[in-house]
């Protein structure tokens, strides 16, 4: 549908990812003198944390990547987008196990789904994006080089999105909602705050301020042919609404007014998800995934460029590596991986995170082969899937 959705999806999901990682890094901050027994979770110090955040943000706002992102295009498939974020999460010395990465992605997507659903007006999604951008800017405020990349992105967002009409924003919103269709993973922090029900669906309140530009429902006005008001009638709107709040700022700086998109995590609020009870409703969401995607080629081009050009840290051994766990203990993490329902697996393309010359050459060759043979047979889309499968073997 809308060809301008991807930048918003990427920036907002990226923002949520940073909130969660920041929280986990702070939570795992263990004073050096309180060394644990056989824990593989390292003692994070302030410097390491800042370094990880800087590395990820630098990668996220890589100029070439953003250029690609901002081009008009359809949304990536869930699989491809997940792979991009996998790569992004590993753009630093930090390591995440499969289970933790799955959980991270669940949290990111449910958080943004919540924000999109609850935006009073479709254009408020831009304010949500600015909230994320503001926080990202704060993470890197001490590093001028990255800061300028972030500022440039603000400009691009403002240029691209502020001229759009309400109808075009609604199309973007509808496109995002199709992407998030049927996702009902339960998130602890949402359940506790009572913004999500135990069936995984978000609470949509029938009270609170109306959006800017909307009147509180309740009045009927009848006019004469000459335009004068003849009658005024009231009706019961069934809710409990109040007047709209003031307008948020759509510029680089300013009060965004909405809280959607701000950081809801803090060290004391753990990030948990519940797998049980979600399989039934999530089983349907793979339907849209399974449909062939002709843009798989485009996505893979982008992935290849991303992988080729980026500095990758050698993972080293997991014992000494800087591993981050999204769960409370290592045992929980292992358990989560084993017990994750099949239909909730993201089908991630496992790409070796090394700047291996040979691997890169292989990949380039495969990409070349794929682009040459452009015959539009009915398996054009399955070629994309074949390629994705091939990459698994790399």
């Amino acid at each position: 549908m809308s060809t301008r959705t991807l930048p918003l999806l990427f920036i907002n999901l990226g923002g949520e990812m940073l909130y969660i990682l920041d929280q986990r890094l702070r939570a795992q901050n263990i004073p050096a003198d309180k060394a644990k027994k056989v824990s593989t979770v390292p003692a994070w110090i302030e410097e390491d944390r800042k370094r990880v955040m800087n590395d990820i943000i630098t990668t996220m706002f890589n100029k070439k990547f953003l250029e690609e992102l901002f081009k008009p295009q359809e949304l990536y498939s869930k699989k491809a987008l997940r792979t991009v974020f996998d790569r992004l999460a590993h753009a630093s010395i930090m390591r995440l196990n499969q289970a933790s990465m799955d959980k991270l992605y669940d949290l990111m997507t449910m958080a943004f789904k919540y924000q999109v659903l609850l935006c009073p007006r479709p254009k408020d999604i831009l304010l949500v994006s600015f909230n994320h951008m503001d926080a990202i800017k704060d993470f890197v405020k001490d590093t001028p080089s990255i800061l300028s990349q972030v500022d440039e992105t603000y400009q691009q967002l403002i240029e691209m999105y502020t001229p759009l009409s309400n109808g075009e924003f609604q199309l973007i919103r509808q496109t995002l909602l199709i992407f998030f269709q049927d996702m009902h993973i339960r998130v602890s922090i949402f359940l506790k705050d009572k913004v999500q029900n135990s069936n995984g669906r978000f609470v949509l309140p029938t009270n609170g301020p109306v959006p800017r530009g909307t009147q509180i429902p309740g009045m009927i006005r009848i006019f004469s042919c000459s335009g004068e008001e003849l009658t005024r009638l009231q009706f019961n709107n069934g809710g409990n609404y109040s007047s709209a709040l003031r307008e948020g700022s759509f510029e680089m700086f300013g009060n965004r007014v909405t809280k959607l998109g701000t950081n809801m995590y803090s060290v004391s609020r753990p990030v948990e998800t519940h797998m049980s009870g979600t399989s039934k409703s999530s089983a349907q969401h793979t339907k849209v995934n399974a449909a062939p995607n002709p843009l798989a080629k485009e996505e893979l081009n982008l992935l290849a460029r991303l992988m080729g050009g980026l500095e990758v840290q050698k993972p080293g051994s997991t014992d000494t590596g800087f591993r981050v766990n999204l769960f409370a203990t290592d045992e929980e993490e292992e358990e989560a991986l084993i017990s994750r329902p099949n239909e909730l697996s993201y089908g991630v393309i496992s790409i070796q995170a090394t700047k291996d010359q040979q691997a890169n050459a292989e990949l380039t060759k495969i990409m070349g082969e794929f682009t040459e043979s452009g015959d539009p047979s009915s398996s054009a889309s399955s070629k994309g899937d074949d390629l994705l499968a091939m990459m698994d073997g790399l």
């Binding site: 549908m1 081009k71 008009p72 429902p217 062939p292 002709p294």
Partner: protein, 336 residues
């Protein structure tokens, strides 16, 4: 006034699209068909009036002879013409027309899609039957395609392209009161809230333009010469079609309206929005005296759901059905 009845389960959930529910009542066979769009699939359910039999069918938006991709569907709507009923499906790639039971595709019209994606999305949206033999479908460019439909067979042709709108078409409606006296019998609406009023014929005639106030009109109906329009601001406005005179303005919903429907025999109006509410209103319009009255009758709240489709199941408004984003059922309400 209305109470909830047993819901109809769907094979998958409804997508957040305007007017995402279409209903066709087939009296001779005591059946009602419902269609709901999920991404690139149209879910069709056929229900018997005794409530005992349900059958499901899914239509994918696939173009014949063109091996491509998925294409997201923007709308699926039944078009009831005097001689035949059609199911029209509009998507990013084009327009498909099926026999009303979805069994055979009788016509395909491809949209001009550019080689590489452009900043402006390309899609078809807004579907209505008009007069005896036309089906009109809107396009994202603002054009309205007029198809001439013979009383049977697949010799459907593109008869005219109406180019008055500059923004993407959102919805199209034809005069449904059954009265032959109405001068205007078609209204088209767009993303900017602008509406055009037409008279159908071999060459469609533009009778009036009603300017929008820069707020999307997402759903529109035409009844007894009056345009009923639902907006993104949650307002419903009633305009006299041919003159553009504003008769009434209702602050109806707290969020974007997604669907309006009218029961032509009784004057009941249904409005549904992202705010979880479906509201029932009563309209009385007397064209001779130019008087319009609208009264609020009833609210239904579908908890925690952003409603995307609401339609009466019959011309009197005895029953209505509702769909919501992420909901895999069609909820039904019946007069008590």
């Amino acid at each position: 006034m209305f109470h909830k009845e047993k819901s109809i389960q769907l094979k998958n959930s409804a997508s957040a699209l305007y007017n995402n529910l279409s209903v066709l009542r087939i009296a001779p066979r005591r059946l009602t068909y419902f269609t709901v769009v999920h991404a690139n699939v149209v879910n069709m359910v056929s229900t018997s009036w005794d409530g005992l039999n349900y059958s499901h069918r899914q239509l994918q938006s696939k173009e014949p002879n063109v091996a491509t991709s998925t294409s997201l569907i923007m709308q699926a709507a039944f078009c009831a013409l005097p001689s035949r009923d059609l199911l029209v499906v509009s998507s990013q790639k084009g327009i498909q027309m099926y026999e009303s039971d979805g069994s055979i595709m009788v016509y395909w019209h491809a949209l001009d899609t550019p080689e590489a994606p452009t900043a402006h999305a390309v899609f078809a949206r807004g579907i209505s039957a008009v007069s005896d033999n036309y089906v009109c479908v809107g396009v994202s460019s603002g054009a309205v395609l007029v198809f001439d439909v013979p009383s049977k067979g697949s010799n459907i042709t593109l008869s005219e392209v109406l180019e008055e709108h500059k923004e993407a078409i959102t919805d199209i409606a034809s005069e449904c009161s059954g009265s032959q006296e109405c001068l205007a019998n078609l209204v088209t609406a767009d993303d900017g809230g602008n509406m055009c009023v037409w008279k159908s014929g071999e060459e469609f005639q533009l009778l009036n333009k009603i300017p929008g106030l820069d707020m999307t009109c997402s759903s529109v109906k035409l009844w007894k010469g009056t345009v009923l329009a639902g907006y993104g601001t949650g307002q419903i406005r009633l305009y006299e079609a041919v003159t553009g005179i504003l008769h009434a303005e209702v602050n109806a919903h707290a969020r974007w309206i997604y669907s309006l429907d009218i029961a032509p025999f009784s004057g009941l109006l249904l409005s549904a929005a992202e705010d979880s509410f479906v509201r029932v209103w009563h309209l009385s319009i007397t064209p001779e005296t130019n008087s319009v009255e609208i009264a609020h009758l009833h609210n239904e709240c579908v908890t925690d759901t952003q409603i995307c489709g609401a339609k009466f199941c019959d011309g009197d408004g005895y029953a209505f059905a509702v769909t919501g984003y992420d909901l895999s059922e069609i909820i039904r309400y019946v007069q008590s």
